[in-house]
């Protein structure tokens, strides 16, 4: 595949141990039920106390197209994608060719030997493990559906034997999952035994790459960022969610809905303490969020790049009329429809300056699902405090893949920051309320909510207005308001999550954003092992604070690592900090798979060698 050619990935092989440090990949066809088997394998490894992450490489399709699941086991806790595989479970003849090619030299390939393998697929440097999965399942199970489904569980059983998975853990998991349907527990158990028994009997188990129990996952969970963000919205007290279905953001609202159905029922009546509005399009979705926020609710919308494109008009209204809104952008590849099921960080520029006219928006960038949870909650505080749209930018990799992260925690002392909202009692004291007067000098003028008090009424508008909220076409009145909003947003630089900085006193810095964190931290370790020490900064909020500019200034060169073609983070840094462009070296990967450590290492080495 093309991305293999962009970096020297082979150098990473030597870095790998055989025990608890390897990767394998499962190739199947979409819609055959392999997801539950893959989940089972992940969870079993996790329950053995070994750090593990999974990347679902799936097509924009419901049934039939090829799909892959990549599992990386890393005792050291590395979670980035690794593009070389010790073991391939090749169950989709349509992709045999490329699947065989992706196995590292010396690795293994498991395939369904019910049918003979095309001789052209044979490589002398890998070992073939043939198991007649279809034949075995057809003999044991009746019914087309069960035969297909159980084939998946059978390969999970074979992997258990080959990789030294604990069969008791798998049995326990199956019981938890299908406990209410004993027949299913039984057939799943049989399928596990089919694969397990066959592998034990025919191959040297375990393989040199295998698992060994540890105690490294006790305080961790396996969670995807969309679920975590949905949970964050629940905990922040969001009551209105409006959305239009879009990959890869859909599961965020589905998660929120699931949590609400459990935790947001009025005890006496069982009625809903939430409203989820599936809008006619993303334009309406953001309009509903703005309407709900204007009325005083915490409201949000999850979407992806195409949705933000549509929302631009309304985002400008919320910015200028100063109405809170929380927008999740689970980024996917663009432009246009792009590759909906592949990841990218390609909306950094669009979100920072969304809508026509002079605008600038608060953006926060979680680096993993745990931060997706925390930043989701923080986003509502920021939006209400600064009375403005706030973007939470994740991506498909964070949003839809299962990451191992420390358990989520919540501080019960948390009280929502609702910003400056005048109460009926406060309005009783006010002689005449005017919406946009900056009495405190912090750029934030108190707002009022509909229905509270006759003195609180004002006309919210996206047309030119003065500090009293009245329509204006007067130059000075217009400039006064638009300049104050600019000051307000700039002040948010101190309130957004601050960058994570790791300094070793190096002259060269590595700077990144969002989910690149996993690849960057792994790359830093490996570069350090090669004698290349780098300082590190992960940016977590926009507008950038002084710390960001200071980091860039104090390094001779800063490598800016990101997942888009145009170097959007580098451009933003250059625009917003004024740091000399010579100090900013770009490392980009934008093929749609999550970035790997080798991309970062190769990028750093190539440029350092050129400089030397």
């Amino acid at each position: 595949m093309a991305y293999l050619a962009t970096g020297d990935w082979r150098l990473s092989t030597s870095f790998m141990n055989q025990t608890n440090d390897f990767a394998f990949k499962i190739a199947t066809a979409n819609g055959t039920g392999s997801a539950s088997a893959n989940g089972l394998i992940m969870q079993a490894i996790f329950r053995m106390g070994i750090p593990v992450t999974g990347k679902n490489v799936f097509p924009s399709n419901i049934q039939g197209l090829p799909t892959w699941y990549e599992i990386r086991v890393s005792e050291r806790g590395y979670t980035a994608r690794t593009p070389h595989f010790d073991l391939m479970v090749a169950l989709n003849p349509a992709t045999y060719g490329r699947d065989v090619a992706e196995v590292r030299s010396g690795g293994w390939l498991l395939y369904d030997s019910t049918w003979p393998l095309d001789q052209r697929l044979l490589r002398p440097d890998i070992t073939y493990l043939g198991i007649p999965l279809a034949e075995l399942c057809n003999a044991r199970f009746s019914g087309m559906r069960e035969r297909i489904l159980m084939k998946n569980i059978a390969y999970a059983g074979a992997l258990a034997a080959l990789l030294n998975m604990d069969p008791d853990v798998i049995r326990a998991l199956l019981k938890e999952k299908y406990g209410r349907k004993p027949a299913l527990v039984d057939s799943n158990q049989q399928a596990v035994e089919i694969g397990y028994g066959y592998a034990k009997e025919h191959f040297d188990c375990p393989l040199p790459v295998h698992l060994s129990p540890r105690d490294l996952t006790r305080d961790a969970i396996l969670i995807d960022g969309n679920t975590a963000a949905g949970l964050g919205c629940l905990y922040a007290g969001a009551t209105v969610g409006a959305w239009y279905p879009i990959t890869p953001a859909t599961s965020l609202m589905e998660a929120f809905k699931g949590f609400c159905q459990k935790y947001r029922r009025e005890p006496e009546t069982n009625r809903n303490r939430f409203a989820i509005l599936q809008a006619e399009d993303e334009i309406a979705a953001i309009g509903m969020v703005i309407g709900a926020s204007w009325a005083g609710a915490r409201a949000f919308t999850p979407t992806a790049g195409p949705g933000i494109s549509l929302m631009n008009e309304f985002i400008g209204l919320a910015y200028y009329a100063e109405v809170p809104a929380v927008i999740f952008d689970v980024q996917r590849t663009g432009p246009s429809t792009g590759m909906p099921t592949r990841t990218q960080q390609c909306d950094l520029m669009m979100c920072a300056y969304a809508s026509h006219g002079d605008t600038r928006h608060i953006c926060i960038y979680p680096g993993d699902p745990r931060e997706a949870f925390e930043f989701a909650a923080a986003a509502f505080d920021l939006a209400e405090r600064f009375q403005t749209p706030v973007f939470v930018l994740t991506d498909l990799d964070i949003g839809m893949n299962d990451w191992m992260v420390p358990k989520l925690t919540w501080d019960d002392r948390y009280t929502p920051d609702r910003g400056k909202v005048l109460t009926a009692e406060e309005l009783d004291e006010v002689k005449s309320f005017a919406r946009y007067i900056d009495a405190d000098g912090d750029g934030i003028a108190p707002r009022t909510l509909p229905g509270v008090h006759p003195a609180g009424a004002y006309f919210t508008r996206g047309s030119g207005h003065n500090r009293f909220g009245a329509y204006t076409e007067d130059a000075e009145e217009y400039v006064e308001v638009i300049d104050r909003i600019d000051r307000k947003i700039q002040r948010a630089a101190r309130a957004v999550p601050q960058p994570i900085v790791r300094s070793v006193g190096a002259r060269v810095g590595l700077v990144t954003v969002g989910g690149c964190h996993a690849a960057c931290t792994e790359a830093l370790d490996r570069l350090a092992a090669d004698g290349i020490a780098l300082d590190y900064m992960r940016i977590r909020g926009f507008p950038f604070g002084d710390d960001v500019a200071a980091f860039l200034e104090r390094h001779d060169v800063n490598f800016i690592v990101e997942q888009n073609r145009d170097g959007q983070l580098r451009n933003l840094l250059q625009l917003e900090t004024g740091v000399a462009v010579e100090k900013l070296e770009s490392i980009r990967y934008y093929g749609g798979f999550p970035i790997s450590a080798h991309h970062v290492i190769a990028g750093v080495k190539r440029r350092l060698e050129k400089a030397a």
Binding site: V240, R271, R273, M288, A292, P454
Partner: protein, 351 residues
């Protein structure tokens, strides 16, 4: 819009409503629309309706899009929050606001460009959701602010001020609403306040989306010969089907109208609307018949006005969503956040 303040001192003898407010208390700032604009007459009818119903102005939220009609919320209910959003997308704003706080009385004011062109999709889906809002479409068949282009409600063959004929079919807001399952559909004429005020009052008492299409001639760009939205044309072609006589449950005011065939429909807030059939066999609770009747009269070049359809059972957005009675905006953080112990517990499923 103008900021010339209206005199705040009113004549002490002005009649007061049940909550002690006079009509002037329901006004807004001075209109900046053209003299004689139909929209200003609608504003006056809205003021009259709210005053008669003794609704506290600050319990109302008035929302609009962009265009001449959308300016009008500034001209009534100065003590109500207003939201002048983006072109055509007021239905989305009012849907969100209503979801957040169901205790506010919402009025949306829009025009034919706003509702039937740029925002057509949003209007359709707000109708489908049956958002509890009084939706007034001030319909003049023309783009006034951009100086005279045809709108989607311009009738085929009608002439623009420059003499060009419209070649496309018109979108009829009432037929559209009926076909989408609207639970309250009415048509008024800006020049007929006696008919319009009871319709607005009935719409305000309706639990759900109350759609009122008001023919409102544009005196500047669409009141000439050849226009089908002019004062002269509408007066001549107006066919009144159902005279709505709005009655609060406590106080029936039936004497103002001629006795005749009367049908009483109880609205969701307990008040009643008495419908006087002026056309033979017209049944305002029969959706199909209403649709057919409007079409029949249209073929004769007639504009049917009155309360055209009222659903006997309307289930609004909150009933569909099964939302709690307390507005979502008034729930406490403790009612919304499950807390740290529950977070610890629920994470068992992620292991």
């Amino acid at each position: 819009m103008s900021y010339i303040p209206k005199p705040s001192v009113h004549h002490p003898a002005l009649q007061k409503n049940a909550i002690g407010l006079n009509r002037r208390d329901y006004e807004g700032s001075l209109t900046t629309l053209c003299a004689g604009c139909g929209h200003d007459s609608i504003t006056a009818a809205i003021i009259q309706a709210f005053w008669e119903l003794s609704i506290p102005p600050h319990r109302v939220a008035k929302l609009s899009g962009i265009g001449c009609s959308s300016k009008t919320p500034a001209y009534f209910l100065r003590e109500a929050h207003g939201f002048n959003g983006v072109h055509g997308r007021m239905p989305a704003l009012v849907t969100g606001a209503n979801a957040a706080n169901r205790d506010i009385i919402y009025i949306g004011v829009s025009g034919d460009g706003d509702s039937l062109s740029i925002g057509l999709g949003h209007l359709c889906h707000a109708i489908r959701r049956n958002v509890n809002v009084l939706y007034v479409l001030e319909n003049n068949g023309v783009y006034g602010l951009t100086k005279g282009q045809f709108s989607a409600s311009a009738d085929p063959g009608s002439l623009s001020k420059k003499g060009e004929a419209n070649t496309m079919e018109a979108i009829d807001g009432c037929l559209l609403a009926l076909s989408l399952g609207a639970t309250f559909v009415a048509r008024g004429f800006s020049g007929d306040k006696a008919q319009l005020v009871p319709i607005i009052k009935a719409g305000l008492s309706h639990s759900g989306f109350a759609f009122i299409d008001v023919i409102s001639p544009c005196v500047t760009f669409n009141d000439h010969e050849g226009s089908t939205k002019s004062y002269a044309y509408t007066r001549e072609k107006n066919v009144e089907v159902v005279q709505a006589d709005f009655v609060l449950p406590t106080k029936a005011i039936t004497t103002a109208y001629e006795p005749g065939t009367v049908q009483t429909v109880t609205l969701h807030d307990g008040s009643a609307v008495r419908l006087r059939k002026v056309a033979d066999q017209y049944d305002p609770t029969d959706r199909d018949r209403a649709y057919a009747y409007i079409r029949e009269r249209q073929k004769e070049g007639e504009v049917v006005t009155g309360l055209l359809y009222l659903s006997p059972d309307s289930s609004d957005l909150h009933e569909q969503n099964d939302t709690v009675a307390t507005p979502l905006t008034q729930l406490t953080h403790e009612q919304l956040c499950p807390g740290s112990a529950e977070l610890e517990k629920l994470q068992a499923r992620f292991r």
